[in-house]
Symmetry: C2
Subunit: 440 residues, 2 copies
């Protein structure tokens, strides 16, 4: 027996230490993957060492690197010195390169290029190794930042994190786009959203959030649908209006954009992302938004109760041109297009106290106020031909008392896609699932 | 159109404001759920107002509360004043109680009691409302704290958060305990662990973590198995030994316990939890641990290659009695009991470079070093009768180069169960899934 007391720290330098400016002209060790190997002639080779947060240039003068292929894991010993021409202004003058492991085969595609320029299908099939491309991985650093900001901001606003089941006995959103499962001989489903559970937890903690996978068996292939995605969900009690929920989302976006600007500068630069202005976000009613865009861009409204992707795009463009905003809240969606738990507008029950958030014309959030009154909820279910008995454990919360409440769900991949200017949401999921793609 | 600029803040006081000591002898508004209503005689009634972080005592003198039932959502207006006899030393002398919503039916069980004392099945069936009990919800505050600590600590150690698919084409852990799914006419599975994907991402980010659901179709009902649980996973590259992984876990536990002590004091008190000492954690080899416990407690070792739950319990007891620790790392598990990706000990290939962490005799973590060499991984798969072709996208990372790496998975519900002294892991999941339970 021996005791393990705490962090065994490696003597090798990490990125912070390297960039921090200390250790200049000292002998140091740095571990990393050989991202690229560039013979410069005259016995000089540049090894680009891939680290978590960037690439360190190692100059290898007169070293035999014949047994050090690209994508080898190595520890380089050398002198760290300022070099204005090197990326980050620092380089490692290598004296020794120790190989920890070697690949069996060279990369199928040179990942050290700035952009990959592959077709989508090839790229997705080779994802396990192509994500090592710096541009690709920056997308997921930004995604991690968006998720981190969600939790940090909400924690500061008194929200509690919850973990709700993904295997469920009934779908929250209805419809046929639900995956079925055999659960020890019983019929079960994969959750479409944590809706019932997050509402339930409002009765317990007042304010809750969850960042977790949801599953949609959508049978159509579009550039903005995934069959599995990460949903940033929140739900909050004691609201005066669904605008309280929109205010929390606005606060989140402000926090997230500031965090990205402050701590993810390299990734933003690599992806050429301009952080959108979220100081104030325009809000416009569903019917008003439709009319404004149709008039300005000269098209006829086909369905007064629905918003086609093209129409969302036009409203996004309108918000940019007329109000100078990449984001726009569209409010008061028609009742028939919203789920049974949405609260109708008491002023006009054809509409609901709800909203979507469009980001450059793409819906990234759906939210609204929910029904909290038992009789009202049962009546709305019955009016839709639903059997309340099937939702007994959900209705338990209405039956035994719920505060006025509302919430929202943000599609993390869509938010990432729009922020990073990606042309397909598949680029914003590490290992996306679609109609034809179940691996990697 | 109007603009939404930022956080619309309610004028009502939140818990921090109330307990902070400000606003004493001022007229304030506080919203909350009526947790309990206690007529004290002489026209005086105590309303216990349930807030996110505690219960505020409201004294209602001469107010008609006949229309204010328990579990109504209310806004109380009154004067906040010091009152040593009240919980938290403060009470609200109410002048008006406004009802925002009313339950349709009274609670099936009085949730304001300190302990519920129900049988497990009744409690789980009524969970959606019984979680409003303060003791029950404290369990999930602590769980949120454990999860938050995991992310905060790892972020500080240079780990990046990832989101990997839960619908997969092959299981990581093998065996029959995997849920099957119809995926647009193809056979698919629910993930047993993010193993393949987190290893893949070590090639990209060096250090990664994920806190997400995993699914195990275990057909036996025990007090420590759930069919769906939250796994705290991490994976890290450039390790010198699997002990580096154990060191990170030790660092996490130290961080988590300090966070709980610092910020979750009320919840710990309510559950009578004593924070375990994690300054140093004993590490003992699998075979040595078995021998020590068998000798001390006088039983025969039945299977030298396996660890039964009773044996884990004995080893946990031994660690407590001999080394004064609630935790013990058991290392070098037999190769035949570990998955195909586990690295065998070069000194004795019957054992692996792996570990479990036992907490009071219950396994809460499994981890170890993984094979990074392509030929070695293919050979181990073939020796087990597996077809490497079925794991093509996983083996891509070995083929094209991986650093030495390892990682672990912590069962969040088990960690919560042991820390809170719960007798069944089902009490540590909000809406647990087991052989017979698919709802709520």
């Amino acid at each position: 027996m021996e005791f393990l007391a705490d962090g065994r720290q490696s003597l090798r330098l990490e990125w912070k230490d390297i960039m921090g400016g200390a250790h200049r002209n000292e002998t140091v060790q740095v571990s990393g993957m050989v991202h690229a190997k560039r013979p410069m002639g005259g016995g000089l080779t540049f090894l680009k060492l891939r680290k978590q947060d960037g690439v360190l240039q190692c100059t290898c003068d007169g070293l035999d690197l014949s047994q050090v292929p690209e994508e080898a894991a190595v520890v380089v010993t050398g002198t760290l010195r300022d070099e204005p021409r090197a990326p980050g202004g620092v380089e490692l003058a290598a004296r020794a390169v120790k190989v920890l492991s070697r690949p069996a085969e060279p990369m199928p595609v040179p990942v050290a290029k700035a952009k990959l320029h592959l077709n989508l299908d090839t790229e997705l099939s080779l994802r396990p190794v192509l994500l090592r491309n710096l541009r690709e991985r920056s997308i997921f650093q930004i995604q991690a930042g968006l998720c981190r900001a969600f939790r940090e901001y909400l924690q500061g606003q008194g929200f509690t994190e919850i973990h709700t089941p993904k295997i469920v006995h009934a779908g929250a959103e209805g419809g046929s786009n639900i995956f079925r499962l055999d659960y020890f001989g019983r019929k079960a489903f994969l959750t479409q959203s944590p809706q019932f559970y997050k509402q339930t937890m409002v009765g317990v903690f007042e304010r809750v959030f969850e960042a977790a996978p949801v599953f949609r068996a959508e049978k159509h292939a579009t550039i903005r649908h995934l069959n599995e995605y990460t949903s940033l969900d929140l739900e909050m009690g004691f609201i005066d209006s669904f605008q309280d929920v929109m205010a929390v989302e606005t606060g989140y976006l402000q926090y997230a954009m500031a965090l990205l600007e402050g701590e993810y500068g390299e990734d933003l630069k690599r992806l050429e992302v301009t952080i959108p202005d979220v100081k104030r976000i325009p809000c416009v009613r569903f019917d008003e938004a439709k009319a404004l865009a149709a008039e300005k861009y000269g098209y006829r409204i086909r369905d007064p109760y629905d918003l086609e992707p093209e129409e969302e795009h036009a409203i996004g463009r309108y918000a940019r041109e007329a109000w100078g905003s990449d984001f726009v809240f569209v409010t008061h969606y028609p009742s028939k297009k919203r789920p049974f738990y949405a609260m109708d507008d008491p002023a006009d029950s054809r509409y609901t106290l709800s909203f979507d958030l469009l980001f450059q014309g793409v819906e990234v959030t759906t939210g609204g106020q929910r029904i909290h009154d038992y009789a009202q909820q049962v009546a709305k279910m019955e009016a839709r031909g639903m059997d309340p008995a099937e939702f007994e454990s959900y209705l338990m919360i209405h039956e035994h008392g719920m505060p006025p409440h509302g919430g929202l769900g943000i599609g993390l991949e869509r938010l990432t896609m729009q922020l990073c200017g990606l042309e397909n949401v598949r680029y914003a999921g590490l290992f996306p699932r679609d109609l034809s793609r179940l691996e990697p």
